[in-house]
Symmetry: C2
């Protein structure tokens, strides 16, 4: 059987962070709730000249430089994101352009000339889809190599319930035959149901109405006819547009947190069932480590508890649990379940199989499509740091995208995993970041700053074009 | 060698059209320029309750109904679009939801439960990418079936140079082993270069500035301090948003038509070279029919002329051309090239190998990602109508997406192609559409109409949710 999987990994996370302790204090939320409850310590905040494309470009460039890759051998670069910068031009092309410019000194012009570049969109699971499709493509020819990038920006309204789960960054992965880090099986559990648990719609406003709101705010009074005449005679690009509607894009999603948790739980359970039905086994027997899509660090351990409990009943684990906390009591169901989730046996399960993959999330926050792959990087770098040998360990991957879909798959860590993981230096980098205060963070959030706060990143956005035929086109440069 | 390709096809095009004759008259453009020059006769205009998801849902439902497909056998539904309705939730999920609801009477609830659903974005080539990836996925297991949907809305500013190339609609294709219509080879010529020839950026406005523009328009005068106080005290959702910037989405692209033609020509030439280098042949020797991405009907025949001329020089075609129009004359280069492009020998090439694929485009306009597949449908339905047997004919596909990428690939028409193509009824449907006058068209364009003009389509958008946690979520229904 062909062995295909991840041969090398790199990442990029903005160098600015907000500490959860400072945010909790400012928002008057008990820090314990965020830290011990959700596992949050810090969140990554992009500087004014950073966006999804610059995150992706930094991770992509790092992948080439750390691994001495020849770009002419890479047949595709697929990017998963739900923070695309354009409705038509893929965010991946912006990232590839800047890296191609950098690599031309060594490899000549157009070193990605015959490379297939593409964006995939399905909320937080788009990069899993990019991986899935790239594995299929590589599988069909021994010489093929692909790169998958997950890049995203998780931004929520100030003072909203999502605010403390923000984050940003990218992960890039080289997909090859006989990979040095991990092989991925061609067994995919899939579950889909169209839901509106979290999405980024266009927000429709009637132009006359928002014009009128100004007039009313000024306590003035005009007839509709006069207003229309004034509106139609405007020279302003915004107001003179002939369309009666204005469609506003916002990075901040519309969402229902509790409903989204329910969708996550239902979809992954359906995907487990699908996976088990193909694989004729149960993931909880086989997986040494769990890597989740993590909207916040402790999300996986919370969500998987019910599945674990069901699995426990199929073997002697349940008896051990009962020995520890007593028989299940229907009358005190909620208490018993709480005790079970805090039992030594479940805690051991979390500590040995889930916690290492949560470490990075605690320090970065939600990276949307990149979260699940950052969880893999976290697990690998944690093992390296602690000198744990993962060779031949099975890692289970649990992806989820709102809207909604889950994919469940697994991989086996390869013998030479350490050599390539040593280059990643995740926790070293995370320690080197710069903490900003809440005032600076809020200004960044409101787009009130014009100059970068502090930027040591390689690739940044340099400017946005303003000509008639290229207005809005973003340009990037390498420091 | 495994035979994988397109087993069945369906399409959806809005029932409203604007005639090019009427538009030319209103815009004071010579009709000849649009009709004889570009091949335009009519363009499809969506009604007020139609969008990319409803187009896709109609084509998808048609595919199931015409071919009695069992939805539980479909492992993936991938959609290519550059008119996505949301930044996170795939447009494909909206389409799948409404079709799943319709099919539940026959197949039970959640008949797409284990189906992989996804959006792909790369301007007009996203659906070619969806096809490419779905072919790879189907190839790896004999039981797999996939559906690829191309759905798009091509909308340009009123009175702009793009206005007469508008269009809309969707094509859906069933991908299987041993397909009845056409097999697709696993040889792909690919060329990529990041360009800004056509894109759909977010348009950034400073909220204070557009507020001030109203004040100025009213000839009023306030200090900046007063203005900020007024702005910040607003209860309006639009004005009270804490972000200093407003990002506006517009369906209409930013583009440079001439530069985009040049990118198209350069990318497809590079993709031809790549394709020929893998295939050790030349497409112009092998292809019986050419199917292009067509921004307007005659775009393919225009763009391919230079490639044809280069190819002609490699065989006796060039001598025949010279016999017809005389030797090449560097001094009168432009004239000679014009004569060559209007020569009998090139005209024959166009009429026998390209024209059949242009027919639908003349009557619909630009369908962006769906254009190339509508060109295939046009070729197949034209041959059926004229009783031409395409069996074993080689069809060459030339895809292009601005931003920019080209993919070149080929397929062989299968013995039983007629049986499934007979169900499509393309030209019959196109004749049955309703022409609207320019006044109605302009009102639709400006979003001034609230009620549908005339709608006989199966699936339409019924409403948009407005609750706190689902504002902007679109709902669809089946008439």
């Amino acid at each position: 059987m062909k062995k295909i999987g991840i041969d090398a990994i790199s990442f990029y996370v903005p160098s600015l962070t907000v500490s959860m302790q400072a945010l909790a204090k400012h928002r008057d939320i008990p820090y314990e709730k965020l830290n011990r409850g959700l596992g949050l310590e810090a969140m990554s905040i992009p500087d004014v000249n950073e966006d999804t494309a610059s995150f992706a470009a930094n991770a992509l460039l790092q992948l080439f430089e750390s691994n001495n890759l020849d770009p002419r051998e890479i047949g595709r670069i697929y990017l998963g994101t739900e923070s695309a910068l354009d409705g038509s031009k893929p965010t991946a092309t912006y990232a590839v352009e800047v890296v191609e410019n950098k690599l031309k000194d060594t490899f000549g012009e157009r070193c990605f000339k015959n490379c297939d570049v593409l964006d995939m969109t399905f909320a937080c699971i788009g990069a899993v889809d990019a991986l899935h499709n790239s594995l299929d493509w590589v599988r069909n020819n021994e010489t093929r190599k692909a790169i998958v990038i997950a890049s995203d920006l998780s931004k929520y309204e100030l003072q909203s319930t999502g605010e403390y789960t923000q984050g940003a960054g990218a992960v890039a992965m080289l997909i090859t035959h006989n990979p040095s880090i991990i092989t991925i099986d061609d067994t995919w559990g899939v579950a889909t149901k169209s839901e509106g648990d979290f999405f980024k719609p266009r927000r429709l406003y009637n132009k006359s109405s928002i014009f009128k709101e100004v007039i009313e705010q000024l306590d003035l009074s005009y007839s509709d006819e006069e207003l229309n005449r004034i509106l139609n005679s405007s020279n302003s690009e915004f107001w003179s547009n002939p369309n009666d509607s204005v469609e506003v894009f916002k990075e901040e999603p519309v969402f229902d947190g509790q409903f989204s948790n329910q969708c996550y739980s239902e979809r992954i359970t359906e995907a487990f069932d699908h996976f088990n039905s193909i694989n004729s086994t149960n993931f909880l027997n086989d997986w040494d480590h769990f890597v989740f899509h993590l909207p916040y660090a402790f999300h996986g351990r919370r969500i998987i508890f019910n599945n674990w409990l069901q699995w426990a009943k199929t073997n002697n684990t349940y008896q051990k649990l009962v020995d520890d906390i007593g028989e299940f009591d229907e009358g005190n169901k909620k208490d018993w379940l709480k005790k079970a989730s805090k039992s030594n046996i479940y805690r051991d399960f979390v500590n040995t199989r889930i916690a290492a993959g949560e470490r990075a999330s605690s320090l970065i926050g939600n990276m949307y499509t990149a979260s699940i792959f950052m969880s893999l990087v976290s697990l690998l770098c944690d093992a390296l740091e602690k000198d744990i040998d993962l060779t031949n360990n099975t890692i289970g991957f649990i992806g989820y995208g709102s809207g909604s879909k889950s994919k469940v798959f697994q991989g086996i860590v390869q013998e030479n995993w350490k050599a390539n993981v040593e280059k990643i230096q995740l926790f070293e980098y995370l320690k080197s970041r710069t903490e900003i205060d809440i005032d600076t963070y809020e200004k960044l959030h409101k787009c009130q700053l014009k100059q970068p706060v502090y930027n040591n990143s390689h690739v940044t956005m340099s400017h946005v074009e303003s000509g008639e035929t290229n207005k809005g086109l973003r340009r990037y440069s390498i420091n």
